[in-house]
Amino acid sequence: MKKNLRSYGINMLGTLLLYAAMLLLMSSGMMDRYYQGILMSVFINVILAVSLNLTTGLLGQIALGHAGFMSIGAYTAALFTKALSSTLESASPLTSGAIFLVALLLGGLVAAFFGLLIGGPVLRLKGDYLAIITLGFGEIIRVIIENLSFTGGAQGLRGIKRLATLPMTFWIMVIVVILLFTLGRSRQGRAIIAISQDDIASEAAGISNTYYKIMAFTIAAFFAGIAGGIYAHYIGSLTAKTFGYAKSIDILVIVVLGGMGSLTGSIAAAVGLTILPELLRELLGDFTEYRMLVYAIALVLVMLFKPSGLFGRYEFSLTRLIDRLTGKYKPGKKITGKETAVHD
């Protein structure tokens, strides 16, 4: 407990420093609108990646419909704030912030509801079939949104108030990361990881596979919905096409490259893969065309040479880094000289 408190303190401090640095860069004008936009994409992608990491990393299943949940959250939140647009016109920053948060929560909840609905039938399958069926659901969600009138159909939804600010999104991201971290290290997280390791043994250990699989899927959908809500209120307009198969793959690439099961890996990959194309654009000129090509090559190479992703299951820990630097770190006992065993 004491050790935990210290670790919490260190991480809190690290987060505050990051936040302060961001505010400083913003107020000093060193970070213009362009960079702020990149930062916003980073935050949104981090939320998407850590939420998909729950399904793909911890539960060990490839889901190709994450963008579908994102779009449900985006449309729900956007329709909510649009309905309240007259109130928002005259609202104080505090009220509009609160309305925004409620919109996000609502978007997350509706996305989670669909996750729950879809999760039942989908999670009876695994592996390739699960990948395909989630892809199918993702596409169906897209087509339905494109054909509904209240979502603006194929033209999309315009005039969404840009309520998402960088500081607010930063803290939402931090909270999402914390919640998913604590979830991963709880009895629920243990159950989910156990299922990914051996689903016959997990049942034999008293874990209800169906219950925890649906739980993981639903929570992932919830946070994807929140990310969608932020996206909607940052961009200001929505078209269903944005949330197709390609977007789901984008998120999957982040999780896989970062290391399935590693939260810090997902974060690092989300930051890296969002910033890298922009950096390369500055250095090499327009890079957009090559972006997906480079992703694809990187993905093949990682799968061939380090299939567990860059971080594997390893989690970066600030506390451990500090302990290492101050020489306090003591590695645990290792098994030495593996006994030869008879296998049949």
Binding site: Y129, L299, V300
Partner: protein
């Protein structure tokens, strides 16, 4: 004959035509899945590669005095080679890795092909020339497009040939043996690697034929044309029962018909959703597909 009926029959024929193309592609999925238990996500993109290979070879072929439809052979050769190389480079090293790695690699290869072609040939669609000059068929008051007849007949012939190949030849037997139990097959002196290469070559070759037929129906090709086509063909394979050759044919026809009739009588935009809806229903109700119980035909 009433006009509505004629229109309906036209839509049916159109469905069968597209369905036979799906069936050809579905065969590739089914054969590969049967033998390496992997959904080759890149299979749809092999079609795209085949279409480009055919397109670019036409001026060369006509230049040396050969008929344009010879481009089918170029496409088949290109796709067969691509299939074998993809398997050797990307899938084979992962044969003993967790399934999830192989699946991601397949997705990655698909992305790679799409974006490579996008970078090389831009994303703007290119027109595919008319290469088959087949007279239309007249049955009373119904006129049937010649290319449609050719597509349907050619697909049927190829499928029957494939079925005979798998059932009657030594190589076909080897393919069935490897799909049953690759370890036992290798103990019986079957070269597993060669058999898998062969399967990829045949499956990809069929995709190449499909690509040329597809180009004759929808004469615009672009780097992303394969992904939706591939998905629908995959759904066809699942519907029929993955790993089962006659299942792929039946599945292809069903998907083609459903799609054609939805487009004609309900809503063009909903066609994709309906096809995915079929997939979801099949996977929920009978994941082993229509012919799923029929283990004897597994490849």
């Amino acid at each position: 004959m009433p006009q509505e009926l004629i229109v309906f029959i036209k839509h049916l024929i159109n469905g069968v035509q597209v369905g036979s193309i799906y069936a050809l592609v579905a065969l590739g999925y089914t054969m590969v899945y049967g033998i390496v238990k992997l959904i080759n996500f890149a299979h749809g993109d092999f079609i795209m590669v085949g279409a480009y290979a055919a397109l670019f070879s036409i001026p060369v072929l006509t230049g040396i005095g050969l008929p344009a439809w010879f481009c089918v052979f170029v496409a088949v050769a290109a796709c067969a080679l691509l299939g074998v190389v993809t398997e050797k480079v990307a899938y084979k090293p992962l044969r003993n890795s967790p399934r999830i790695s192989a699946l991601i690699t397949a997705i990655a290869v698909s992305l790679l092909l799409q974006n490579l072609f996008m970078v090389c040939f831009t994303s703007s669609p290119r027109p595919f020339p008319e290469i088959f000059h087949v007279p239309d068929l007249r049955l009373g008051s119904i006129q049937i497009n010649g290319v449609a007849v050719l597509t349907i007949v050619l697909s049927a012939v190829l499928m029957i040939a494939l079925q005979l190949f798998v059932q009657k030849t030594k190589l076909g037997r080897a393919m069935r043996a490897v799909s049953e139990d690759s370890e036992a097959a290798s103990l019986m002196g079957i070269s597993v690697n060669r058999t898998i290469s062969m399967t990829f070559a045949i499956g990809s070759g069929l995709a190449a034929v499909a690509s040329v037929m597809y180009g004759s129906v929808y004469p615009l090709i672009d780097p992303y044309m394969g992904s939706m086509l591939g998905l629908k063909a995959f759904i066809a394979a699942v519907l029929g029962g993955i790993g089962i050759i006659p299942g792929a044919m039946l599945g292809g026809l069903v998907i083609g018909l459903v799609e054609s009739l939805t487009k004609a009588y309900i809503n063009t935009q909903l066609a994709d959703a309906v096809v995915f809806g079929i997939l979801i229903l099949v996977l929920i109700i009978k994941p082993e597909g229509i012919f799923g119980k029929n283990i004897g035909e597994k490849v």
